[in-house]
Subunit: 398 residues, 2 copies
């Protein structure tokens, strides 16, 4: 299902094609996040126009609303959303472990419930809904079953995503449990695919394993060897610091990349806040990544701009359209950009829409920011194939 | 600029074409409302796809933000918004007089300021911004100047829009003042158009007068005669009850329509909450109307559906997508509708988007509701030309 089409002569960067039941994905690929069965503010036509190849949806959120059985009864996520191209679902592990602590103080009405929001045992995890406090349980088997019902093309093993600052003892305990869960995910995925009575096995989803181990070199390397030895279709690198802390991310990639199969797709989960972050992981042999940043910061008025745009304050590739200096600026957001927004609207108009809080603001900003990342990926793939990836990286870094 | 192409043999309904510098408008025409230089949640491509011919923008709101001088410096509303088809701007009269009382209690921090929010004198009106409480002044001349700066194709005379329950004495006083203001608007419009130094006179906007007179037959008829005798390009019927109270609207139209010029376009301001309302005014010879309802109620999940749709509860032509019975409903919103939403998405998906408050919900709902009204207008124009307008009305009324 994965074929490498070219490897850069000066780095580990490579281009490839992932084949799925819903079409091919050219790698390296950026995956926009559609948490609740929609990439926020955009419709399926927008995604096609922007050139999106694959979207990521969140198992945790879809399990809570509208629930996997509803989506299955509608024919799966593709039919439910109208998006006919590939979909990847995460396993819910990241949200269960890292979203809960941040919401427990603000959302739950009964503060006394805080203590036991997430309870981990060998078999799985019990957690409370951030919406209504109701109790839910994920196990490796349940996470597989939910993702099968959602009908994604690529699904993820259920893992324990540990915080950065955890002790080595606990990081090892969690990692070893994640490895045992990984094996159970493989078994359950096989079972679901063989289950002829299941209408959700038709797509035969690919299953990716996830390397954990926190900030500890020995654990990361052990996890890389174990996950790499298992019968996964792709290898992901997970953990709270991936994408969030790029120094840590680069260090972890240096530890694990030499140890994992070159022939499988490599996926860093949560990378893509800055274009430079993408260059760093692609250079190290990563094929896929997702990040909520382009659409999330769009809704605050933060727009990505190319290196040539004079308004950028280095090293950032963004401008804040709320800034008063754009009030009467007739130029497009990014004069080098060919997206719908940059070819139809001025900074002044966008500034106005944000100032008066019009819904169109969030939509136009999201279109531009996603187009920016998708165009960057096209440029990166082209550069790799011409063995000029590092030149392109240097152009962006200068 | 206005040519009647056909008059129904059984009613006063008629088809026509209004020519403007930005293209023709086939009448009867429904005008979506783009209060703050955007039809909420939609972009210009959406409006073109839906078949929108003309949008209405609000002088009051644009004067407060981003201000008319900014829009003028950007080349006018068309250049600022990217909408290249006709635009009508209201005069701000309706908002100054009827929006202020509803906001004064909820928005202003200093409640003691309530008493003098709107102060009317012979020359004009002084009012406070609903945003920051700052003081502003509209006179007939200022309202004309602002609309010239905005650069609309059709502009409206500055009138005093009186509440339904006003005394006859005050209604007469306000009406007579509105007539004096109407003459001043004509003079100022002429002056602005002749003013070669103004870059905003190129479009030579059409100017419509507005009939007032509240609920009083003698006043309405007097206003109809006076406004009709003036040198306006079109005749509007205004007042708080128009559109809002259809019994009163029909009565007022019966009073005034026989008295106004047949050769000018007729515009009821604020009509279009229900399809039946549109039939009522078109039957009485109205050519244009605007209403915020289709987009406003869309954002609450209220969707227009055609008479044939079985879920409709008569006499309404709406369904509320938030209703739990649509949770697993795979059918399109309106099975007879050809809009993007009905051809791509199920009620279940829309129900989910509304339930989780995704921005896409508001956009899709707005697309459907506006398409519904624009399609209705196409059907009405076709029916008039075949002299079957009353048959179409009866089909909808049954």
């Amino acid at each position: 299902m994965f074929a490498i089409t070219h490897t850069d002569k000066q780095s580990r960067a490579r281009t490839g094609v992932i084949q799925t039941a819903h079409g091919d994905i050219e790698t390296p690929a950026f995956m926009p996040v559609g948490t609740q069965a929609t990439v926020k503010s955009l419709d399926v036509n927008d995604l096609n126009t922007i050139g999106v190849q694959i979207i990521l949806s969140n198992t945790y959120h879809l399990h809570l609303r509208p629930r996997e059985n509803l989506i299955a009864s509608m024919g799966g996520l593709h039919a439910f959303t109208g998006w006919n191209k590939p979909i990847l679902t995460d396993s819910g592990g990241f949200q269960v472990f890292s979203l809960q602590p941040t919401i427990r103080l603000s959302r739950l009405k009964d503060k006394s419930q805080n203590a036991k929001l997430v309870k981990i045992d060998e078999d799985g995890v019990t957690f409370r809904s951030y919406i209504d406090g109701s109790t839910h349980r994920f196990t490796p088997e349940i996470a597989m079953d939910i993702q099968h019902k959602l009908g994604a093309d690529i699904i993820m093993a259920f893992d324990e995503c540990t915080p950065d600052e955890i002790s080595e003892t606990y990081a090892r305990e969690a990692m070893e449990r994640t490895h045992r869960w990984a094996e159970r995910c493989i078994q359950q995925n096989r079972k679901n695919k063989l289950n002829q009575s299941s209408t959700y096995s038709a797509d035969k989803p690919s299953l990716f394993g996830i390397i954990q181990g926190g900030k500890y070199k020995n654990l990361r390397q052990e996890s890389a060897r174990v996950i790499s030895s298992m019968n996964f279709d792709g290898i992901a690198i997970g953990g709270e610091s991936i994408g969030y802390n790029m120094q840590a991310t680069k260090k972890i990639l240096e530890w694990v990349m030499p140890l994992i199969s070159d022939t499988k797709p490599h996926y860093t989960m949560g990378v893509g806040y800055s274009p430079l972050d993408i260059f760093e992981v692609v250079e190290r042999g990563i094929d896929m990544f997702d990040c909520v940043a382009p659409t999330r910061i769009a809704r605050n008025g933060t727009m990505y701009i190319s290196p040539a745009t004079k308004e950028r304050s280095k090293p950032s590739f963004t401008l804040n359209i709320n800034n008063a200096r754009f009030r009467a600026d007739q130029s497009p957001l990014d004069p080098t950009c060919a997206c719908f927004v940059c070819t139809h609207h001025s900074r002044a108009y966008l500034h106005h829409l944000f100032r008066v809080k019009e819904l169109l603001a969030y939509r136009l900003a999201s279109i531009h920011n996603l187009h920016f990342f998708l165009q960057l990926m096209k440029d990166i793939r082209k550069a790799i194939q011409k063995n000029s990836f590092l030149d392109l990286k240097n152009y962006w870094k200068q």
